[in-house]
Symmetry: C2
Subunit: 431 residues, 2 copies
């Protein structure tokens, strides 16, 4: 019943141009193709669906020029995304084109000689990489005629959905565990959409969202991370595009990427491969390293023990935006890190906090806990010899320290308190 | 003694190219000129010093092209700033080129028909416009051979100085009232510089900094908002440049700008006049409107009562980043708002909170209290007929809502709490 309803809705608004170069959804497991629709699981094998393209063929130089003449946001890559060519003219939150910071001070401290860059996604509109994925999901939602934007979230995603819905004039209704910290509730609720607390944990929230999608009450609802997930996920490809363009249309040697569901890491790899296939960058080997918190390290454990199967964990870490105990894309992440010669590593909460402060002290970048995880893992990978300090390395910061102040608060404060006199200043040894 | 010391220090590093097109400091009161140095008060009349230029003459089209080919930050305007031509190649925090958001939803709610834009400076590295002014001050500090970057601050500036010092390898020592909220202390301290709490209020902190500048203990210290103030202030000109370039090299009809010390508003006016003089935009009248909080409204009161003299106030408002009771540039602000046909208006704290939520709900932009002040004042100016809704208007958001969560927290929260069942969902009336 529901499937038919959606198909009718889609028929009303989808044109051959709606999804730009995207031509189908294809199953990542069995390869079966199905038309572009708000579907997320293969009807043949229940594998996850992803977007398949017919990417532009022709002169890479012309495509590079077209991209460089585009806007300073992800829509410069519209020819490589499942969005219409005129996407930049439509109201959206317009994330991306965040800074790629040459991190010479941090490189010196870590002994990296081959060049180190921080891709700093805290510069996005709601200060996390989630704006990238939500922006694409919003375009799909409009195309499919959805009128309510929704998701399950524990923080960053809720804010990104709330903000994007506000800008684009969609209704939003976001579901979170009711016991979330007050600050995170405010950050998500301020955009004026419905914010619903669920009596239960994040798993309960997720289960409820799946039920709602199958119910008439969910008719017209686009869940960015469920029925719009294939489109949503493609937003992460733009991180790969931007890194290479900002390096001067060149692949880095090594990338350190956080793992939550694992989707971001797999899509960055997909983006890099597309750039090579299109001739936009010269082909050469690159290594992808995955980063987890020790308190939620199912992929890291599988990597280290040489297993192909991910054993779910019950998360217990301050890196809450990475705390997915049963990551859907974990097996794909293992494949990519092994195939490219990278690795998966994890750090404990103390190392996460130390890494946040190291990045802030050396580069003036205040990262959220997920950024502490990647920088901490980078440090650990150098120590254990898995990452080459003489090779060019890019490390991702996917969110903003202002969102996880509590992580550094216990160990960050005034250096001294003095009376407003020069004598008091001298006594404190600050001169 | 100190003056000589600084002159010697300066002689060691200052070259004719150090300050690009800047040629002198000039007194805003008496016009007396003095060489470029870390000075801030006229030796003739004690008036404030500002940077004087010999701006590039010649083909505006060529200058526009040069700017457009520059980096996506304030250094694209290096030919118009007191910085060396190669500034973009030196380590700095690289703020600017923030989004100019076409705010059609907000325009509809406010009845603006002439076009409305939000210049959203929350996109800067530490999420406030202070990164712009600090970035220029850092260049001056390096040129003058200062080794410690300092300031007095109650929040945003402390973070901007801490981050910029970290990136550029300068030592930093920032002074704040010791009773600042814990969150603001963390945001400023995380960058690892010295953060010193002063037993006293902000006036005590300021007085102490002035003493320190005159003391041998302050040798080699660059206070961004005191002895580097003439350079620092010029950073705000880039807001004018960006707004006009992002409009397609065109002046808007009306601008709504917050007033703290008033420096930002005067420098935006200076920037607009420079663009006209250089032929980069076509000359036409524009109106500048100043925005204050009712609890700190000395300029607004002077404007409304037709006085030329600003009567200091004791601030009492949630808009703490604007809470300067005796604004140094107040008289200049009055001049500009009167000369251009604008006005100065104020809103109370409740209106500030309402405006923050209005902007978030309509455009997905979460502003700090200062942004609530400008949007609230915009709304009030339309109601009282002082701002023309049929003219093109730009309103500034100078900081990020994540920094002033407490302002909206009491009135922002969950819409509902439900059990994870469809029945509970339906009962809550959310379907």
């Amino acid at each position: 019943m529901r499937r038919e309803g959606l198909a009718i809705m889609a028929a009303a608004t989808v044109t051959p141009e709606s999804f730009g170069p995207a031509v189908a959804l294809s199953c990542r497991e069995c390869g079966a193709r199905t038309p572009l629709a708000p579907d997320f699981a293969c009807t043949e094998c229940f594998g996850p669906l992803e977007v398949a393209y017919e990417l532009p063929s022709g002169d890479p130089e012309a495509l590079r020029a077209q991209i460089e003449a585009g806007p300073a946001n992800i829509w410069r890559y519209a020819p490589l995304l499942p969005v219409p060519a005129d996407v930049a003219t439509r109201p959206n939150i317009n994330p991306g084109w965040t800074k790629l910071v040459k991190a010479d001070n941090l490189a010196r401290e870590l002994g990296i000689t081959g060049g180190l860059y921080v891709k700093d996604d805290s510069g996005n509109p709601t200060h996390s990489f989630k704006d990238r994925v939500v922006a694409i999901a919003v375009e799909a939602a409009r195309t499919f005629g959805f009128t309510t934007l929704s998701c399950s979230s524990t923080g960053n995603l809720a804010g990104a959905v709330g903000a994007a819905a506000a800008r684009t004039g969609l209704r939003s209704c976001v579901f979170i565990p009711q016991d979330l910290e007050q600050g995170k509730i405010v950050m998500a609720a301020v955009y004026g959409g419905e914010l619903v607390g669920i009596e239960g944990n994040y798993d309960d929230v997720n289960r409820f969202c799946s039920e709602l999608i199958g119910d008439p009450a969910g008719e017209g609802w686009g869940f960015v991370n469920v029925n719009l997930r294939p489109y949503y996920g493609e937003g992460s490809k733009t991180l790969a595009y931007e890194i290479c363009e900002q390096l001067g249309w060149r692949l880095p040697d090594q990338l350190v990427i956080p793992i939550a569901s694992g989707s971001q890491l797999t899509k960055i790899d997909k983006g890099l491969k597309e750039l090579i296939a299109l001739g936009l960058v010269e082909d050469k080997p690159y290594k992808i390293f995955g980063a987890q918190a020790e308190g939620c390290s199912p992929v890291s454990v599988a990597f280290k023990t040489g297993r192909d199967v991910i054993r779910p964990q019950k998360p217990n870490t301050i890196a809450k935006s990475l705390a997915i105990g049963n990551p859907a894309d974990g097996p794909y992440v293992l494949d990519i890190c092994r195939r490219t010669g990278g690795a998966v590593e994890d750090v404990n909460d103390e190392q996460v906090v130390d890494a946040i402060k190291l990045l802030a002290r050396t580069e003036g970048i205040f990262a959220e806990t997920a950024g502490g995880v990647t920088v901490g893992v980078l440090q650990k990978l150098i120590k254990n010899g898995l990452l080459d300090p003489a090779a060019e390395t890019v490390v991702l910061n996917t969110g903003d320290g202002l969102k996880t102040l509590d992580a550094v608060e216990p160990t960050t404060g005034l250096s001294a308190t003095i009376r407003p006199t020069l004598d008091s200043f001298r006594e404190a040894g600050l001169a």
